[in-house]
Amino acid sequence: MSDWTVDRAATELLSCEDERRDRGPITEDWPDLDVETAYAVQDEVLRRRLERGERLVGVKLGLTSRAKQHRMGIAAPLTAWLTDAMVVPAGAPVPQQRLIHPRAEPEIVLVLGRALAGPGITAVGAMGAVDHVCAGIEIIDSRYRDFRFALPDVIADNASSAGFVTGPVLRSPDGLDLSLEACLLEVDGQVVDSATGAAVQGHPAEALALAANSLSRRGRSLEPGWLVLTGGMTDAVFIGPGHSVTAHFTSLGSIVLAGG
């Protein structure tokens, strides 16, 4: 039998992050780690973060593209926690000194004006709780070597969360067609990819509803003022020192992120 526990996995993942150390998938050491236990690890890591003074500011969705879900053999995205320690201020570079192998992905960020408690939340109902919409670039940094992991690994690892920047424009969702809100992604001034909000679970509101409904299964609801990072619109791109990533959005402005 394995001598792994939720506590041990939480300790291991937090120390990987603090020591900038990557590792093989935990599921190779602990084959019995299932999705439910993995979420318990994620919650334990959050508990320790809050204990050391971080504040919970929202949630992120992971694996929101159909292609990624297909590769992982799941039908819905996963949820993970965002704390204030993950905020990268506008204009600041990627904090390379504390990261292992960061990648960046553009996202549509929804900010809630009121709580959303599942189950039974629909996309159109969810949008009613959104106070404003902005652009974002999420910085992901798996604690697993070469971003190689099974589903329970990435859930336990808080969906590879590391940081995020939010964009310069706050828009009311009224009159915005988020399914056609486009992002043109450039690395070092060259277009590398583009996508629209439809790449995120069909529509970012669908991602929001899924977040509310899956959090209800974890006994939680989305709270007023929380940010919801709805999921990468394009594939993530590596962002090393000396490089830059720019995400231009149709109506949400542009974000430039320096690689440090």
């Binding site: 056609l180 809100e181 486009a182 043109l184 277009v191 583009s194 996508a195 629209t196 149709t250």
Partner: protein, 264 residues
């Protein structure tokens, strides 16, 4: 290549259109086929079409994405012509049997309101020359077996063009930023690709400027009324009979292509 070989290669491709039987990559028979040879082979087919009464009504620009350029090991796009019989109406039934291995690409088609003659054409010149924009689905096709194309093959084969379905909602350019126009591609109602206008060579207007300047090297240019397909917004997707494809563009409307087995 020598002159007779250009004509032989052009005849081979023209025969593939008629028989719908693709041919082996030209590069196998003509290993020294360079870009100038390939454009010469393309031009000889255009001559043949015009002798048969067809008209050139526009152009297409291909290989405009970094991914396609890497795959073809080139740093420039390529171009081909649009004939009058290649332009199809929105929602028309399209027989897949008219093609060999068709694929669709959503594009922001640009219709010119004045001539554009390079060299020295800038994005600003193109913006001033745009009469209107129309949502479009380009149907690309290859007369080369299994799309096993090198850069020379695709240029010789009219930049792998097939047809263009043009939407019937022309829209003025105005002050819209074509780089950031969102586009969703649907197959039978399911999203299969998304992107922004800037996926086409950074900006569809830049693609047209490149085309005007490149055509100047062939002593020709773009003309009032020309329809320009400036490059795809998403990866090309293979189509099958029975499928309905549509592309929605923010602020530009939607275009739909219905694929059937035979001409209806």
């Amino acid at each position: 290549m020598i002159g007779a070989e250009h004509q032989a290669a052009a005849d081979l491709l023209l025969a593939a259109y008629s028989s719908r039987r693709p041919v082996a990559p030209l590069i196998e028979a003509y290993p020294d086929l360079d870009l100038a040879d390939a454009y010469r082979v393309q031009a000889l087919q255009v001559d043949a079409w015009q002798r048969n009464g067809r008209r050139v009504v526009g152009r297409k620009v291909g290989l405009t994405s970094p991914a396609m350029q890497r795959q073809m090991q080139v740093t420039q796009p390529d171009h081909g012509v649009l004939r009058d019989d290649m332009v199809l109406a929105d929602r028309a039934a399209i027989a897949v049997s008219a093609f060999i291995a068709p694929r669709v690409e959503p594009e922001i088609a640009i219709v010119l309101g004045r001539d554009l003659t390079g060299p020295g054409i800038t994005v600003a010149d193109v913006a001033a020359a745009v009469a209107y924009l129309v949502p479009s689905l380009e149907i690309i096709d290859s007369r080369i077996q299994d799309w096993r194309i090198s850069i020379g093959d695709t240029i010789a084969d009219n930049a792998s063009s097939g047809a263009a379905v043009l939407g019937d909602t022309p829209v003025a350019l105005g002050d819209r930023d074509l780089r950031l126009v969102g586009c969703n591609l649907y197959r039978d109602g399911a999203v299969v690709g998304t992107g922004a206008g800037g996926a086409a060579f950074g900006n569809p207007l830049r693609s047209v400027a490149w085309l005007a300047n490149t055509l100047a090297e062939f002593d020709t240019g773009l003309h009032l009324g020309d329809v320009i397909l400036p490059g795809s917004i998403t990866a090309a997707q293979p189509v099958l009979a029975g499928q309905t494809w549509s592309a929605s563009f923010a602020g530009l409307g939607t275009v739909t292509a219905r694929f059937t087995m035979e001409d209806s």
